[in-house]
Amino acid sequence: MNSTDSISKLLFPATASAAPAAAPSEIEREVVDLFEQFRDPLLRYALSFGIPVHDAEEVAQEVFLSLFRHLQLGRSRANLRGWIFRVAHNLSLKRRYANQKFCDWAGHGETILKRHFDPSPNPEEYLLSAQRQQRLLAIVHALPDMDQSCLRLRAEGLRYREIATVLGISLGTISISLSRSIARLSCADKR
């Protein structure tokens, strides 16, 4: 062994030989399982911030890479669903801010609805149903950001304690916010 090699090994011991490709670890498998379980709800939630689909996909990837590091460091596993949505919430807000597109997601939603609405056999029913959905959408869009987030998280099946973790608010505030929003939505049918 020449002197250059020995100095190299002294300075960079870990690079002396390339490591073989390792099989997926337990944590990797767990993260991929959670990705399969939560990727769609997470994408829907990220999209509701008005960010484009590819940005929402990147947010989802970033969330699960962070989750991997989180679990790798042996940090708390309590309320993992709340943790996942909180990181997604923060990253989506950052994306929205970075894009400088405080996108009119209601408009975006209306476009998607028009494009994908399954027409009912009766044109009159179709029209009524479409009008009602536009009304609901307008009401949701008029709600404060926090109320919208509470509603969407609840629609994704999160419990109050998990929503509290995501948004950093108290359980009382969540029940007030949800009841206020649902009461407004209920009024949509009475108009």
Partner: protein, 286 residues
Amino acid sequence: MLRQDLHITDEELMLAADGELTRRHAAQVQAHLAACWGCRARMADFEGSIVDFTRLHRQIFDPVLPPINGPRSLLRAQLAELPSKPKADTRQWLVRFTLGTRVAALCVAFLISAAAGWLLLQHARLQGPNAVDSPLERGDVPNPRLTPGTTREATISDLCMAAHEEVVGQVTAPLRQQVLDAYGIQSSRADDYEIDYLIAPGLGGAENIHNLWPEPYTSRTWNAYVKDDLEERLHEMVCARQLDLHTAQRDISTDWVAAYKKYFKTDRPLHSVTDSVARLVLPATD
């Protein structure tokens, strides 16, 4: 507390619909609903609206969701690279060069550092003694009248469940504008400032105008990046039970620069101006 002769509030209806009431309270609500047509009709309205919203939420977003296969493979590939990535990258990059190149690079780096040190020393002499004392610039500390610092109710375990950076959220646009207005900053200069929490959320700081102020990125010494380091340090100390949460909140809200000096045991920021500029230019790797 619900009484049989009083109607159920909207909030109680919501909690009942979501199964978030205590068993005793839920039984009281059920008993009232059984006897009261009005409340039952409201409950039906509520449940109908929940169903409608959930359906709408899915109808809007489900059609645009791409298939999961590609993203799942991408995640697997990224995960496979992660464990060895941070340490191995720099070394593998370095090992490509011969020993002679590395020694030459070290010598050049040493000469540049020596020259930079000499220049800084000369600059400090020209500026007088205040220059090496890391003086405060306009905007480094908040106006205590506008931003006294406020906290929210949070336990240490709530705050320590996640790393500091995971707790920090983005300030909403309307709130950001309110803070800029309160400090009389024109929108054209808004990008020069980070709307920062005086007491960070990771230390129980609240998200309201009394706890936010426009902190200049452009300050050469006590800037937003330096304060981020302090917040992270205090969060770690609180979670390690080395520091009382109340003391951390008080110290950072009273004078964050003094708190930095106290907890880092230094008179000037540990990160140089160059570090701060690098953090502006380079994307975060973690």
